[in-house]
């Protein structure tokens, strides 16, 4: 099935529509985190636009047939942003929104705190311990190449996990072997648990690092849906190298008092008193109110 004919693509051609879905996904992330009582906030909110663009405009996939052989794969390497993956999968139709909002991190749930392949429809790999995703994407790309298959493998990674040596082993291997069916996307949000990435362990010059390993690199505004889609299209036209899209994002995007504050990396709304932020009991409502008012400002092309 060519992606231009996929149902997702036909329905949501218009950027304004995708932006609205991304906003709905952000609201659901807040709701599911509040219900779960633990989990990461900043990363999932920051990656909502990338995930929505992927699942509603880029991927060739079929939520009714999650194991369809020709599907594009999404390997999530930084498993702690599972809430945005689960919410996007639910909005795409892999399972219900009720399941997404009500069962994350609960006993006997299919939505584990970190993704588990085989348990959740649409989840392609197990992750959580950082740095393991790109190697698996490489294995999937090698298998596709051996079998002459044309599907694409998207590997979503965090910036902080680039501290792990395994990633650079995989970067070197993919560059050497010109695994063009891999498109990586780095969530370049500049924060990790202990502070700013450039303080904890500097990654810059990140673009040049990848280029020197024989990758093609595209920088995008990670909150500009059109730019994300365009970068993924460009990546499909590059046949001599793997492609890394560095998506510059704002952690906590959409909730002003969470944005760019590493203290919201690992905590859900309602669990942390931060001076200047709403009181704990008001945080969920404040976040949702802000997102709802943002949604009102998004205009679809045909409205």
């Amino acid at each position: 099935m060519d992606k231009r004919h996929s149902p997702q693509h036909r329905e949501h051609t218009h950027i304004g529509e995708i932006e609205k879905i991304a906003n709905d996904i952000r609201q659901d992330i807040i709701k599911m985190l509040v219900e779960a009582g633990s989990g990461h906030s900043a990363g999932p909110l920051g990656m909502a636009d990338v995930f929505t663009a992927l699942y509603f405009a880029v991927l060739n996939h079929n939520p009714q047939k999650p194991n369809w052989d020709e599907r594009d794969r999404v390997v999530l390497s930084n498993g702690h942003i599972a809430p945005v993956l689960y919410t996007t999968l639910a909005h795409s139709g892999y399972f219900s929104r009720e399941e997404a909002l009500g069962t994350l991190r609960k006993l006997n749930s299919r939505l584990q705190g970190h993704p588990h392949v085989g348990t959740t429809p649409g989840v392609e790999n197990s992750s959580g311990p950082l740095g393991q995703g790109l190697s698996q994407a490489v294995g999937m790309a090698l298998a596709a190449r051996m079998d002459g298959k044309k599907h694409w493998i998207y590997c979503l990674m965090s910036d902080g996990e680039h501290d792990e040596g395994q990633i650079w082993e995989a970067v070197m291997f993919a560059g050497k072997n010109r695994l063009f069916q891999i498109t990586g996307i780095i969530d370049r949000n500049n924060i990790q648990i202990d502070g700013m990435t450039e303080d904890v362990m500097p990654l810059e010059p990140l673009r040049e690092k990848y280029e020197s390993f024989n990758w093609h690199v595209i920088d995008v505004d990670g909150h500009n849906i059109q730019e994300i889609i365009d970068a993924c299209s460009e990546a499909k036209a590059i046949y001599e190298k793997p492609v890394m899209i560095i998506a510059h994002t704002i952690p906590g995007k959409g909730v002003g008092w969470m944005e760019f504050d590493y203290r919201w990396h690992g905590n859900p709304p309602g669990t942390l008193e931060v001076p200047g932020d709403p009181a704990k009991k008001d945080q969920a409502k404040s976040a949702l109110d802000e997102l709802r008012s943002l949604r009102g400002k998004i205009t679809g092309e045909h409205e």
Binding site: V75, H116, V117, G118, E124, N125, S126, S127, G128, P129, G131, Q132, L134, S135, Q136, A137, V138, G139, M140, A141, L142, A143, A144, M146, D147, G165, Q166, E169, A170, M172, F173
Partner: protein
């Protein structure tokens, strides 16, 4: 002897000796001919793991990863999640030694159909010294859910193991030795994952061994006859899932157990058998193997002697444990 058909020349002074890793190379080629999904990876150790036998026949299904075991294990997981049957070939000190978390999360937790072959295991690696002597791999892998752990005793069993593991669906780990070791079994010796085989019948003590030291155990049992001790020898090639029935039956029959392995007795075969006995049929037990120390450089035979894994030590352990029965 038992009804199991072993190498008829087993006790000849000129018994043929072949490294177990040779059986791995042959098994890979046999599998490769049968199943186009079998692929082999190595981390810069193609010849010494015998993965090169596969590489020569099926270059398009052979993947050189370089000295990067974490990446190699992850790539194998990705291949398996795409329907391939990858064999990860390196030294046991590196796989699982350098990539246990990748084995845990990318492979075992994901139930990825990855096969991990740890070559140059045990102290008999010899002159390379302690850094290269894998003596902890059985313990560190058998604790992981979803994975099978095998220790073949000779080259023929290593080939059978490789083929059986290729046909088994799910993660598996198996280890080989570097040195030429006696051919114990024959093509007719039964082999099944999860089934320990009684290689010699006996009434006074049960020697449970794995790997090439099954040979020393059989020699010890033969010599113990002269002392009036009738020793049963069990080849316990599957460490996990362990054959509780055969182990408990042996203990029930003889009332005394000796385990023999080229590995730390804590957590290795000795640990695994102790768990089975404690839960099913408690019996006096002696454990032959590494006793919580690292090895050192030396000739393989010298090391087995110094660290207490010789025929002499197995006999001593048998006599000791028989006395403890009374």
């Amino acid at each position: 002897m038992s009804s199991v058909k072993l190498n008829p020349k087993l006790f000849d002074p000129e018994v043929e000796a072949i490294p177990t890793r040779d059986g791995y190379g042959e098994g890979l080629v046999a599998l490769g001919e049968k199943d186009p999904n079998v692929v082999v990876l190595t981390g810069d150790l193609s010849a010494s793991t015998r993965a090169n036998k596969f590489e020569e026949k099926f270059p398009e299904r052979f993947i050189e990863v370089g000295v990067a075991e974490q990446n190699m294990m992850g790539i194998a997981a990705g291949l398996a999640l795409s329907g391939k049957i990858p064999f990860v070939s390196s030294y046991a000190v590196f796989v699982p030694g350098r990539c246990w978390d990748q084995l845990r999360v990318s492979v075992c937790y994901s139930k990825a159909n990855v096969k991990v072959a740890g070559a140059h295991s045990g102290i008999s690696v010899g002159p390379d010294g302690a850094t290269h002597q894998a003596l902890e791999d059985i313990a560190s892998v058998r604790v992981l859910p979803n994975i099978v752990v095998e220790v073949p005793c000779d080259s023929i069993e290593a080939k059978k193991t490789t083929i059986a593991i290729g046909e088994h669906r799910g993660p598996a780990y198996f280890r080989f030795g570097r040195e030429k070791t006696p051919v114990i079994t024959s093509e007719d010796t039964p082999f099944k994952i999860g089934k320990a085989e009684v290689f010699r019948d006996g009434m006074d003590v049960t020697i449970i061994a794995c790997g090439p030291l099954v040979y020393q155990s059989l020699v010890a049992a033969k010599e113990l006859e002269k002392d009036g001790i009738s020793a049963e020898v069990i080849n316990n090639h599957t460490i996990k899932p362990i054959d509780k029935l055969t182990i408990a039956s042996g203990a029930k029959k003889t009332g005394a157990v000796v385990t023999v392995e080229e590995h730390q007795i804590n957590g290795g075969l000795g640990g695994a058998v102790a768990e089975v006995l404690a839960e099913n049929f408690p019996a006096p037990m002696e454990r032959i193997g590494m006793t919580d120390t690292f090895g050192e450089s030396g000739a393989p035979e010298e090391l087995l002697e110094k660290y207490g894994m010789s025929v002499k030590k197995i006999k001593e352990a048998a006599r000791t444990v028989v006395k403890r029965k009374r």
